[in-house]
Symmetry: C2
Subunit: 188 residues, 2 copies
């Protein structure tokens, strides 16, 4: 069976065996237990992470009231990191921790830029991934600006039905930007 | 003096004269008057637009209440379009119109993919632009999730002080997701 990362890249661009081996050599595998941190606020963010298995959340803690706001959830075939810190070489404003036991592949910015410079098709792959990510974030902004909590809940349920079996409701509420009580009303 | 598009691309990657001439040949110039539409809801979105002069807004009209929600503002050196429709070849859910008289350069998806495939450095340029755009949108989402209207107003004023001289207050309010009355209180 093909490696998960290879399947993922080949959704956009085909690779030869030797190209994939070369690309994979720039990644480092990492295993984490449930509740372990992948990135902690204040850390330098050296890697982007491709999720092989498990589920993670990236969140911001508002220093004024200590509330947790989820910026991103990621599971199999998703990428996650604090991108602002990763691309700019600054320290993280986010926390990323494991909602389940997790296996990721770590890619440093140096190695990402290296394989993009050496292999035009990887530059193409990451451009396409970034374009899709940009579109998804624009949709989320529109949803935050225009939709009611109920509409946002229904959109999430329709986009990712299995998510609701995998994560606690407090986490869904924090992702949608609503209280736990509001979510209970919505999901009845 | 160097062409504005060349200056813009060369912030990321240097170009020879012949490379730039070749790249520019894939763009079509377009002039629009104040209040003219660049994209209308329901249109097929054939182009991405690089702004040479003037200011535009991309907005969504909520069919339930007719309210206008601004997704993006763009002026000199920015790119704007309905990216979801552009990348997926679907019709627009947004409107984009001119707040001032505008000059843009139009780039079709076909031509964008062509110059990215032919020139590795253009694939690199657009990857880097998309990464920066992604980070900016993540910041806006965090701001919508965690900041008060007053904090969002002050952030915008600090990021883009000249914007407040160029656009009416109703437009700032719609971008921040607050009412005109709330904005008046904030800006006193």
């Amino acid at each position: 069976m093909k490696h998960k990362l290879r399947q993922h890249i080949e959704e956009i661009t085909p690779l030869t065996d030797s190209e994939f081996d070369y690309i994979l050599s720039h990644f480092t595998p990492k295993k984490l237990r449930k509740h372990q941190f992948l990135v902690q606020e204040g850390d330098l963010v050296k890697n982007d992470y491709f999720v092989l298995s498990g589920l993670l959340k990236a969140y911001y803690i508002n220093p004024d009231d200590g509330k947790e706001h989820i910026l991103q959830l990621a599971w199999e075939d998703w990428w996650i990191t604090d991108y602002q810190a990763y691309f700019n070489g600054t320290s993280s404003t986010l926390n990323i921790d494991c909602v389940e036991e997790v296996q990721v592949l770590c890619l440093s910015l140096h190695n990402r830029d290296k394989i993009c410079a050496e292999l035009h098709k990887m530059e193409h792959f990451f451009r396409r991934k970034s374009n899709s990510g940009y579109v998804a974030l624009q949709r989320r902004i529109l949803s935050l600006l225009t939709n009611t909590a109920k509409e946002r809940y229904e959109q999430l349920l329709s986009d990712y039905p299995t998510l609701f079996q995998r994560v606690p409701k407090t986490l869904i509420a924090s992702f949608l930007g609503v209280s736990r009580e509001t979510l209970s009303r919505l999901s009845q």
